[in-house]
């Protein structure tokens, strides 16, 4: 453990970078330097976490480094700490490595922005928060990171805060996330009250002592947080709007890392979730529903980033579905590969945007491959990975989930399968519209279109390489994660025997799943088994359909829109989620507040308060009339007084 104590550098290097850029950015560092500082910060973290990764890969086990006590809570002390085990090591590697590339990309992307240092401060700060979340060994630190990334996401979405849409999107993302966090916080409280502790390991040890429904409740409440953070139904509405942020932000936060925090959290608390089959079911259904619904929504969007955003939401649904199925390792592997190819897609989209000066509408692009060949090629790699075409990473991470679902739940499989087909369709719709197809570019723009500079293309190429090769490391990753996610392999001091028995029950659903872990075997099997062929054909079918509609225009998309008008409208309006939420929670609540203010505070309470003042004044005015100035009246009142007082005594005595 001693030789791992250097791991504190993992979260704090980005923090230090953030503080340096934050305090000195404007006055001292200015444009290129702030970005370089941030890149160095995150690169140090990446190097450190990769070395920690290698360490844990070689020696195994888990390490709980307590940095300092944050707050005592009776007998329990919440501490700031680093839990280094395969799961967190993988996650922190994903975060830091992908961040490093995105940071490098961002130095190019953000060139010339007047708030350049601010951007890198936020970004570094985000990485810090994300790592705090990742490396936490207790729920409170997790929550700290959880809210921290929420804040940074908010700030980065609202980075172009002078735009109304950006500010509103940021606002929306924060509030929606907060709804999830409310549930999450209640879950934490319930966990503390139930277990008397918030450290994962202690909770895992105490799971058998708690009642089943409490475990379920805790798991569901915590999952509520994940639903918010990972943009699952019904708290998904913020993610597409979050695309108002700069593209690196979309890549880093809203594709690769933060939104995956929910998935990570469920995996991290796997013993808890696995102990409750109800919780797993809920995770499964929410994930599946999101995967499908998001895919349908993605079909008809016109904004390049939004399309990718819906695909993100959809892919997160796959991850949750995997976890709900009990395939935590597959879920995490999909997380890693998705992080790679989705970052790639976003960065490629960012590169496009730089090239054509931030025109987001795909209908105004076209033939971009001519102008930006590297971008187009890398985008294509990413799209193929996303579509699940072998041998790209997405195939190795996504198809096992779909196939496994077939063995467990038929309905889930159907939805996931359909979603996969839709995914392939819409991402290639995007590809064809933007990079191929006819020439719809604005002539003025066209004259300026050019390939992006190397500091943007190099990350693209690296990530594209990752998207190609990563899938072949499937077995390595699954084995690597096993000490964290498989009860059969977990060490006794990580999760005790009693809890393991509970977990086995929950995970039993995954037992009859037989998907080869070795990538080559999997590739061979899926190309031979009917299920695998079906999946592959579906994906290819989606691509082909996109090709004939948008490239060859054999079928007119107008005709499609007209034919399936109700569906088109439903999808285009995002299943009316936004409208309903807006009507009830935004507009309705605001109106209700105003009404309540006028009725409650203004009319009733202040009515009573000011009313009593008015009544006093009126009483004064009325009593004042007794002082009429006439002696007769005075003496008359006096004699009435005498009469009354005498009567009191005469009647009493």
């Amino acid at each position: 453990m001693e030789n791992l104590s250097y791991l504190w550098i993992v979260p704090f290097a980005p923090l230090i970078a953030a503080i340096i850029t934050g305090l000195l950015g404007y006055k001292l560092l200015r444009e290129p330097l702030s970005g370089i500082v941030a890149v160095i910060g995150v690169a140090i973290a990446a190097v450190a976490s990769v070395s920690g990764f290698i360490h844990v890969m070689q020696t195994g086990g888990h390490y709980d480094l307590k940095l300092f006590t944050w707050m005592p809570l009776g007998n329990y002390e919440i501490s700031v700490s680093i839990l280094w085990d395969p799961l967190s090591a993988l996650m922190s590697c994903v975060v830091t490595v992908i961040s490093t590339f995105i940071f490098i990309f961002a130095t190019g992307y953000m060139r010339g922005d007047e708030s350049y240092p601010r951007f890198f401060t936020y970004l570094s700060m985000f990485v810090f928060m994300m790592l705090m979340l990742t490396l936490s060994d207790n729920l409170v630190q997790l929550f700290f990171g959880w809210e921290g990334v929420g804040l940074m996401s908010y700030l980065l979405i609202g980075y172009f805060h002078f735009k109304k849409s950006a500010a509103n999107a940021a606002f929306e993302s924060f509030i929606v996330n907060r709804v999830g966090d409310w549930s999450f916080l209640i879950g934490i409280l319930l966990a503390f009250v139930t277990f008397g502790t918030l450290d994962y390991l202690d909770i895992f040890a105490k799971i058998p002592e708690a009642e089943g429904f409490v475990i379920t409740l805790i798991a569901l409440l915590l999952f509520g947080g994940a639903v918010g953070k990972s943009a699952q139904i019904p708290l998904h509405i913020w993610l597409p709007n979050a695309m108002e942020g700069p593209t690196p932000v979309s890549a880093l936060i809203h594709a690769a890392t933060m939104v995956a925090a929910g998935v990570y959290m469920v995996a991290r608390l796997m013993p808890l979730f696995a102990s409750s089959s109800v919780a797993l079911d809920v995770v499964l259904y929410i994930g599946t529903a999101s995967a499908f619904v998001a895919a349908t929504m993605g079909l008809v969007q016109n904004d390049i980033k939004r399309i990718i955003a819906y695909s993100t939401m959809s892919q997160l649904g796959y991850m949750f579905a995997a976890e709900g199925l009990g395939l935590f390792g597959d879920g995490m592997f999909h997380l890693a590969s998705h992080a790679t190819f989705k970052a790639l897609l976003f960065l490629a989209a960012g590169s496009v945007l730089i090239g054509i000066h931030h025109i987001l509408d795909v209908w105004k692009m076209g033939q971009l491959r001519k102008y930006m060949p590297i971008t187009a090629a890398t985008f294509l790699v990413g799209a193929l990975a996303l579509a699940g075409i072998p041998p790209f990473a997405g195939f190795f991470s996504k198809d096992p989930i779909i196939e496994a679902a077939f063995h467990i739940n038929w309905v889930v499989w159907a939805l996931l399968w359909a979603g996969a087909g839709l995914t392939a369709f819409y991402i290639f719709r995007l590809y064809f519209l933007a990079f191929e197809n006819g020439d719809r570019l604005d002539p003025h723009v066209k004259s300026h279109v050019h390939e992006s500079p190397p500091n943007m293309t190099v990350p693209l190429i690296v990530l594209a390489t990752g998207a190609v090769v990563l899938g072949f490391f499937r077995e390595f990753f699954l084995n690597f994660l096993r000490p964290s996610l498989d009860p059969r392999v977990m060490s006794e001091d990580f999760v005790p025997e009693k809890t393991k028995i509970l977990m086995e029950e929950g995970l039993s659903r995954a037992h009859h799943v037989h998907v080869p872990e070795d990538a080559v075997h999997f590739l061979i099997e899926s190309l031979t088994s009917p299920l695998g062929i079906l999946a592959l054909l579906t994906a290819l079918g989606g691509i082909f359909f996109a090709y004939i509609v948008y490239q060859k225009k054999v079928i007119s998309y107008e005709w499609l829109g007209e034919t399936f008008k109700p569906l088109y409208k439903l999808f285009y309006n995002r299943w009316y989620f936004d409208n309903i939420y807006y009507a009830i929670f935004v507009y309705g609540y605001y109106k209700f507040s105003v009404f309540l203010w006028k009725l409650g505070d203004r009319f009733i309470i202040d009515g009573i308060v000011d009313g009593s003042a008015k009544v006093s004044l009126a009483a004064g005015g009325a009593l004042r009339l007794t002082q009429s100035g006439r002696i007769a009246a005075y003496v008359l009142q006096m004699s009435i007084g005498i009469l009354v007082f005498l009567s009191i005594f005469l009647i009493v005595k």
Partner: protein
């Protein structure tokens, strides 16, 4: 022998008449006269009690009441003269500038 209680009741009656006088008279001189009536009424009670008690302290008190009645009359009439000089009127209606 008349019971002394009658004298006291009589004194009460005269006093109440004086009180009514103050209330109903519209002439401030008559008002002042009514206060004289009130003060005077008490005298009867004092003397009656004296007779009952076989004492003379009550009669001594009557002396003081007379003094005070005289003093009030003097001051009151002075005020009436001043008021008359300022407003040329002795009706209670003039005495309503201070009010509310």
């Amino acid at each position: 022998m008349i019971p002394y209680e009658y004298y006291i009741a009589l004194s009460g009656l005269l006093m109440v008449l004086g009180l009514i006088g103050i209330i109903i008279r519209r002439n401030i001189i008559a008002m002042l006269i009514s206060t004289e009536l009130m003060l005077n009424a008490v005298n009867i009670a004092f003397v009656a009690f004296d007779m009952k008690l076989h004492d003379v302290a009550g009669q001594v008190f009557v002396f003081f009441i007379l003094t005070i009645a005289a003093a009030e009359a003097a001051v009151g009439l002075g005020l009436i003269m001043a008021i008359y000089r300022l407003r040329k009127d002795v009706s209670v209606d003039t005495l309503t500038e201070l009010k509310l």
